[in-house]
């Protein structure tokens, strides 16, 4: 009898854990995204009523100190830099992915794939620094008359493109790899070459995955802050002419980074409204992307898209006939616009004509080439673009390493900054970053891991779960600067405690929460069903099974994910710049309610201190080494657990 009561109590406790604890933890994600949107909305109401939403979006003059808040040039700047980044990154990224997935040997792939992941994890401030020190001077030296300072739309787009590349390559590669071997065999058996198979079977079958990759890259470009702010020049003007890629440009995120924290009143409220516009733009992109993805998938499988289905045949024929001429004339206009930046209108028209002639004769030329030679040319092109990607990434690492090493010394690592950061060391910044990581981990780990376990093991297929999942998705797609804005609104503006370590930890924890939840959920779900059944068959409750069998089995994956996301937190600048970090501190604090120095923000601060190049490179190198060592530790952990757990 006594035993039976014990069992019953145990079951009751278990039931309570499941029902209240886990559900409550899972609900925090919903609360967080709700709070973020709420705070940003409340803060922006003043601007909405004083300026008016339409006047805000359509006004062409952003002069806050004269009271004119026209955000159009800034919104346009965000759109233009993103388009530029995609033009740069999509062709290069997809062709490199084709190389990786279809052409590269297993050995090459095993090297390049992790390299892509490492580069996706390098902090944006380091990319921005690379842009500032390498890309901007390069543009200035190449086009001294067109881009008088080098800071330009072009620089921002190239840099954003580089940052989006690793994601695009890695995710597209996964998509192409998951196309079943049987599709390839069927195509090859029909006498198609390897290249024809890639082009006509593998790419169409992987299309929705490839577009998802592009969308991920695009989301990153729209929401990116630190890299853009350092290279775009940040003049709130509409380029003249509008396609002039050499003009300075200003995006929503860079406006937020430059102005929040220094202003109050209506101006501050207008900035929050700008953040709201940014969120709306991201939402819109995601919705459109989903629609496009579903449509292409449908088109590939059923031969017609959602709109085409409702069109009469003759309209379809007209569209089909017009497709090519329309595309060609669009290409003509684009080439002419670009050429007109360099030369007069007649020459650029001629250049455009030549290009169109070349493009339109391509199909005829390519038909005359034997299919195997076509394959050779294509494979050569794909390999070349992979080489370009690798070269860019290599230059980034090499530049920072070579110029950073002279700065490193014992003094550099153990002294406080002197002479505004031009001399001395970076100890307070290292300590601050470590404090941030520890605090972030203490908040994010319990929340994230428990939510992940809840979603994988206990969540029912109901509305609550759906809301939790979409909250996590939204949280995951929210730009880091928005987290910073939220922290500013909550801690500095509303609570009035100013910049604090604790505020930084909370904001960073919110930022990495979705990543931890996802990795935990995925690894827990990957634990084979048999283990659950074996444990349940011995009379264990669900909670016991989870705690004693499932979680230990999933530990390797969870720990790896946690380390990687903490690495990300260590490199983030935008979320802490208004909430926790200050440029220079000459002593080390251990109070939760004091400001801190942090490595990424210190690097940003130094870029505005003249003659501090050597220290800048030193800080960038230290930051890079921290992130790289996080990756190394993560892969060691993965290796360690892969030996222990096997199924």
């Amino acid at each position: 009898m006594k035993n039976k009561t014990a069992v019953n109590t145990r079951k009751k406790v278990d039931h309570g854990i499941q029902k209240y604890l886990l559900t409550g933890v899972a609900a925090t994600s919903v609360a967080i995204i709700f709070l973020i949107i709420l705070f940003i909305f409340i803060e922006s109401t003043e601007a909405i009523s004083a300026i008016g939403p339409w006047e805000f979006i359509s006004g062409t003059e952003w002069r806050p100190f004269n009271g004119s808040f026209g955000a159009f040039p800034i919104i346009l700047g965000t759109i233009l830099t993103t388009i530029g980044a995609l033009i740069f990154a999509v062709p290069l990224g997809i062709t490199s992915a084709i190389f990786l997935s279809e052409i590269a040997s297993e050995r090459t792939r095993n090297i390049l794939k992790p390299v892509c992941e490492v580069f996706a994890g390098i902090p944006s401030i380091v990319y921005g620094f690379f842009g500032l020190m390498v890309i901007v001077p390069f543009i200035f030296n190449t086009f001294p008359n067109l881009a008088p300072a080098g800071f330009s739309w072009l620089a921002a787009s190239i840099l954003l493109g580089i940052m989006a590349l690793p994601t695009i390559v890695s995710v597209s590669d996964d998509a192409m790899r998951s196309v079943p071997k049987s599709h390839r065999e069927a195509s090859v058996a029909l006498g198609a070459t390897h290249w024809e198979t890639t082009r006509k079977v593998v790419i169409p079958a992987a299309f929705s995955g490839i577009s998802a990759a592009v969308m991920l890259g695009m989301g990153r470009a729209i929401g990116e802050t630190m890299a853009v702010v350092m290279v775009a020049g940040n003049a709130p003007n509409i380029p003249e002419p509008m396609w002039n890629v050499f003009e300075m440009i200003r995006t929503i995120t860079s406006t937020l980074a430059k102005e929040v924290g220094e202003v109050t009143g209506l101006h501050l409220s207008a900035l929050f409204l700008l953040a709201l516009v940014l969120m709306a733009m991201l939402l819109l992109t995601n919705l459109t992307a989903n629609l496009i993805m579903r449509n292409t998938k449908r088109k590939f499988e059923t031969g017609q898209g959602m709109i085409e289905k409702h069109l009469p045949d003759n309209v379809k024929n007209v569209i089909n006939m017009a497709k090519r001429p329309v595309m060609l004339s669009m290409a003509f206009v684009v080439v002419m616009m670009m050429a007109s930046l360099f030369t007069d209108i007649i020459v650029s028209t001629l250049i455009a004509f030549a290009c169109i002639l070349f493009i339109s004769t391509m199909p005829f030329i390519s038909k005359r080439i034997r299919s195997l030679n076509r394959q050779r040319i294509a494979h050569l092109a794909m390999s070349a673009s992979m080489i370009v990607v690798c070269a860019i990434l290599f230059i980034l690492i090499a530049d920072i390493t070579v110029k950073g090493i002279p700065a490193l010394s014992w003094e550099f690592l153990t002294d406080v900054p002197r002479d505004m950061g031009r001399a001395g060391g970076i100890l307070p910044a290292i300590v601050g970053t470590v404090q941030l990581i520890i605090g972030t981990a203490l908040i994010a780990l319990p929340l994230g891991i428990l939510t992940g376990i809840y979603l994988a093991e206990f969540a029912k297929d109901n509305r609550f779960t759906k809301i939790v999942r979409s909250s996590i998705d939204i949280l995951n797609g929210t730009p880091s600067i928005v987290f910073g804005l939220f922290g500013f609104a909550l801690f500095v503006h509303y609570l009035g405690i100013g910049r604090t370590l604790i505020g930084g930890c909370i904001v960073l924890a919110f930022l990495i929460l979705p990543v931890i939840i996802r990795t935990t959920e995925e690894t827990v779900k990957a634990v084979p069903q048999e283990l659950r059944e074996a444990s349940a068959a011995m009379g264990a409750t669900k909670w016991e099974t989870t705690a004693k069998v499932i979680v230990p089995a999933a530990m390797g994956g969870v720990v790896t994910g946690v380390i990687l996301s903490l690495g990300r937190a260590a490199g983030e600048t935008a979320p802490i710049m208004f909430v926790a970090a200050v440029g220079i501190k000459r002593h080390i604090e251990f109070s939760l309610f004091d400001t801190i120095m942090a490595l990424p923000y210190y690097l940003y601060y130094l870029t505005e201190v003249p003659n501090s190049e050597e220290v800048r490179y030193g800080v960038a190198l230290v930051l890079l080494m921290i992130v790289l060592s996080m990756f190394a530790i993560a892969s060691m952990v993965r290796h360690h657990y892969s030996k222990k757990v096997r199924w």
């Binding site: 297993e106 079943p180 049987s182 599709h183 390839r184 065999e185 069927a186 195509s187 090859v188 058996a189 029909l190 006498g191 198609a192 070459t193 024809e196 006509k200 079977v201 169409p204 079958a205 590939f300 499988e301 059923t302 031969g303 017609q304 299919s371 195997l372």
Partner: protein, 260 residues
């Protein structure tokens, strides 16, 4: 042990002589010799892992896709060495089509599945493509079932229909030989019967090689049968002989179900 079917040499579409194949260190085919005769169905039987699938995949060089695969010996298609350096693999595969174990239609419409091959090989006119679609589907006895839904996804068909679609896809480029690698192993008995009837029908115009683990199937439809064991061709002869009075004891034990 190995008896090569020598007579009627001119009727041989494919002639294999002392073929050896290695996957890395493993030798998967040992000294295999056999003919494939024109307008006949040739069956390859034997227990799992005996090399019959490997052998059939040699005939249109599908093993090229496998890393570390090495081949020695002679395999001639209409008198030309298939594995000669510089041999035209593309046109070889165009002339020797292949049907796989599991139906593997492309994730496209039924029509696009059929037009894929002809388009690759340069057919562009829509009328011609329509003709090919109709002819191939009729030959594969699928036309009546799908003619009203050519623009539906191929995945909407049943397994048996999908396999016939794959046959139609192969027929679309007019091959001379059709290789079938256990084409019915993923299908139910009714769909299997349809594929078998189809194979017999195709034999009039094409040469068929079929790998099967189902001895009754080999007995029912094939003209010649090769029995393989552990990478070796144990016996190759007319199907009737193999099944009624095999000359090798191993063959007899396999046929009568005493091992395998």
């Amino acid at each position: 042990m190995v008896k090569i079917y020598e007579n009627n040499n001119d009727g041989n579409v494919i002639t294999i002589d002392s073929l050896n194949l290695w996957y890395g260190e493993n030798q998967a085919l040992i000294d295999v010799s056999m003919p494939v005769m024109k307008n006949k169905i040739t069956a390859l039987i034997g227990p799992s892992g005996c090399g019959k699938s490997t052998l059939i995949r040699c005939m249109n060089r599908m093993n090229d896709l496998v890393n570390g695969c090495r081949i020695e010996g002679s395999m001639k298609f209409r008198g030309d060495e298939i594995y000669e350096p510089g041999a035209d693999v593309i046109s070889l595969r165009k002339r020797i089509g292949m049907i796989f174990q599991k139906p593997n239609p492309f994730p496209m419409t039924i029509r696009d599945n059929i037009t894929y091959g002809p388009k690759i090989h340069g057919v562009v006119e829509n009328d011609e493509l329509d003709e090919i679609v109709e002819r191939s589907l009729k030959q594969a006895v699928l036309w009546e079932e799908v003619k009203d839904r050519l623009d539906k996804p191929a995945f909407s068909l049943s397994g048996g229909q999908q396999q016939r679609l794959c046959i139609a896809r192969t027929l679309s480029i007019n091959p001379e030989v059709i290789l079938m690698d256990e084409p019915t192993s993923a299908l139910d008995p009714i769909a299997t019967a349809k594929i078998e009837d189809l194979a017999i029908e195709l034999q009039k115009e094409y040469t068929v090689v079929i790998v099967t683990h189902n001895m009754q199937q080999a007995a029912r439809i094939s003209d010649n049968t090769g029995f393989m064991y552990l990478g070796k061709m144990i016996e190759f002869d007319e199907t009737e002989k193999i099944f009624n009075k095999p000359s090798d004891e191993l063959t007899e034990r396999y046929i009568t179900g005493r091992f395998g």
